[in-house]
Symmetry: C2
Subunit: 454 residues, 2 copies
């Protein structure tokens, strides 16, 4: 077993983690745009090799490579780590205060696209593993690590990669992409993630834009798209797609208890970081947290049609597009929901609205009573000194979770080894991490490896 | 009086009109973007001076100059010409087959932004006047000509320019920006134009974009804008703003007769040029033409919110904007309709939706029985050899019409001296005029000047 773990210098690990984060964030690895994915995979592989991992790239046709590494440790214990090296697009670019791919330290915050989601976590894990190896002969457990390149486009090929490489990925459990600390300092732990279905609606009402004087008689792509959206979801928020809610499973009593005991500061964070005066339907407290955890969503990611510049252009737009995503809860299946939407549009007379499947993720969770999960939760409470705030189902999606369950049979969770907080602006302009959040993430990681290796 | 008018060489006037059109179209005079307006005014003034006009620039604070020119003729008759030298924005630029400000002759069509609306008409009028002066000592009538630079942004300062210069603009009648020939060859004549009100709606639901996982509880700018639009206009097309229709005046019997006698090819043109399979509400024939002429509209010029790139970005957009325009009929007033929309949004609980006034035009028309109009209509029928298709109220808007009525008391109309046709794609990509349409426009102009100068 390793000795001297407590003598590790967290400050120097922190510095190395920050440097690694910066290095990773300089890569514009936007998967939606197919940018810099191969070279970012190369960088990740080089970094893993440098930390002592035996690595290889796992590929399937049409996908950027996933990087796999294995670092043998003492004893029989093993842990699988999951991350992704791709990031979200940067638009609206004009709202960034510094260039998204030039990591910038400002007020003890590191700003860069991908810093919070999830390159700083790769930095923390890597720097911690390096330091632990330097401090002893071997880690107390075997670490396997898979880093994919399509998470931000809902991992369309990752299930196949996992299926083909299931033997490499076996372990006692998995740490998915991680969580951080709530505003009140309680560690956040996610035991599962909602599913997701991303679609696009397109209306081509005319062969070309027309003078808006003709609006009384020529069909409008904009109003037609509006009508389709209205048909899918009423202005009161009701999702009108027939059968949409049929597969929703009643949450377990344990899951409900966990939500009741979650940090109430979730609400304060949302209020503060997004300037919210009133939540949807006036939600607050437990009702807000239950909605966040247990309800599917119907979201407009974007609508674009016609003119959008200064002043006015009096045009009747020929084309209109909407990008939507639906977060799904057990046992909703993205493919089934997609079919329901298709049937709904046809039944409601919207056969002129083109429906495109963009991406999906299955909802999946590890039960709160799982033994691996319990050990991680205990370490978090011990190291951070506060009771974890547990999400039976986090509101985001992580396709790997269902794939690992299906092909490898692994329990897993998101542990607080990611230096993020509620204001990190993941997916948004000025994404950043706070330097102060690196130390607790590093301390937790050291303690967890030590505990799991016992 | 001029002699030898019939000996004018229409082919050489056509060539000169095409050259002038090209020269004007090379100027990117996009008023919505404030581009190249001063230099285009200079060009217009130079061209008018070269044709013998005494010119000056008419200015008011905050507006690009209007160019005024006067060319004294024989006798007492006088005619006011109106044009604008500004054009619509070019987006969506990717749909243009040639650069919009590099006039391109292709298949006997001249492609350029502003060619149809309305630089080719300036070319036709100017080339014809030049040729008539060269053929004789003087024109048979005095021509006054005003060319403004803000028509495509609804002429916010032109009413003031007309009011301050009313004495310059007196004449027996006015030829507004002109019309062309219908698909069946009948000359189109507009006796009036609908009004217009352009507005913008903005929703700022969050201080920054959020991860779409929060869509269950965080307010959505996109859905909120959707709800505001739904409140303004139902999916069945009903405009729901209380009082919106109150001021609509019943069309006169003469106006209804004119619409009944319009060229039925209006419908075929719309069908062909915009690829329409079915019009709004299944309209066809007289019902379609009556809707086009007598009904106000509620149009979405554009909606922009959130992501709009390749693949998907699962974001909850903080901001959403819609650009709208309402074509108005007598006696609707844009300022009153704007107030009604503001009151409606407040009454319906949309005080969080910011409403911006962008531009407006009053509806106005010359009565079908007006003497000046009758003379122009007769010339059109005689020269073109087919009965004019008359619009008591054209579906577009032309702010100058109401201003001339109010401050100068001038009758006027849009006569077929503009080489445009239904497929000209005014305001749209690949705007163009056909070379074949120049000759009839020139012949009509010659005959009209001759007739009015008798």
């Amino acid at each position: 077993m390793l000795s001297g773990m407590s003598s590790l210098d967290v400050r120097s690990i922190e510095q190395e983690a920050l440097d690694l984060t910066r290095e990773l964030c300089r890569k514009p690895s936007v998967s939606a745009e197919g940018r810099a994915l191969g070279e970012t995979a190369e960088l990740v592989e080089t970094l893993l090799t440098g930390a002592g991992f035996e690595t290889r790239q796992l590929t399937v046709d049409g996908a950027p490579p996933a990087v796999y590494g294995e670092l043998a440790g003492e004893g029989d214990a093993s842990l699988l780590l999951y991350n992704h090296y791709d990031v979200q697009p940067v638009d609206p670019i004009e709202l960034w205060d510094s260039p998204p791919f030039e990591p910038t330290l400002r007020d003890d915050r590191l700003f860069a696209r991908g810093a919070a989601d999830n390159k700083a976590e790769i930095g923390v894990r890597l720097a911690t593993i390096r330091a632990m190896r330097e401090a002893g002969d071997a880690l107390p457990l075997t670490i396997r690590w898979i880093v994919e390149g399509e998470e931000e486009v809902a991992s369309p090929h990752f299930d196949a990669i996992i299926e083909q490489n299931a033997d490499l990925l076996r372990a006692d459990g998995c740490l998915w992409e991680g969580s951080g600390l709530a505003m009140d300092g309680r560690p956040e732990i996610a035991l599962g993630f909602k599913g997701n279905l991303a679609i696009k609606l397109d209306v081509q009402a005319l062969t070309s834009d027309a003078h808006s004087g003709t609006a009384g008689v020529l069909p409008s792509a904009a109003w037609r798209l509006h009508a389709a959206l209205e048909s899918i979801r009423g202005v009161d928020g009701t999702i009108r797609v027939e059968g949409f809610h049929d597969a929703v499973r009643e949450p377990s009593a344990r899951a409900r208890e966990a939500v009741a005991e979650q940090s109430p500061s979730i609400e304060d964070e949302l209020r503060e970081f997004f300037g919210v005066e009133e939540f949807v339907d006036g939600l607050t407290g437990l009702a807000l947290r239950e909605r966040l955890t247990f309800s599917p969503t119907c979201n407009i990611c974007g609508i674009h049609t016609g003119y959008g510049g200064p002043g006015i252009k009096t045009v009747l737009p020929a084309h209109a597009s909407a990008w939507m995503d639906f977060r799904l809860v057990p046992d909703q299946r993205p493919a089934e929901v997609f079919d329901l939407i298709r049937s709904h549009l046809e039944a409601e007379g919207f056969s002129d609205v083109a429906l495109t499947f963009l991406a999906s993720a299955e909802p999946a969770a590890t039960p709160p009573e799982d033994a691996f999960a319990s050990r991680v939760i205990d370490v978090a409470e011990r190291v951070i000194g506060k009771p974890p705030s547990i999400f039976p189902l986090a509101p985001a999606s992580l396709p790997v979770v269902a794939s690992l369950q299906r092909h490898v049979g692994l329990p897993g969770l998101s542990a607080p080894d990611n230096p993020v907080y509620g204001g990190s602006a993941a997916h948004a302009p000025n994404e950043h991490v706070r330097v102060e959040d690196f130390a607790p993430a590093i301390e937790f990681t050291i303690a967890l490896f030590d505990e799991l290796g016992r």
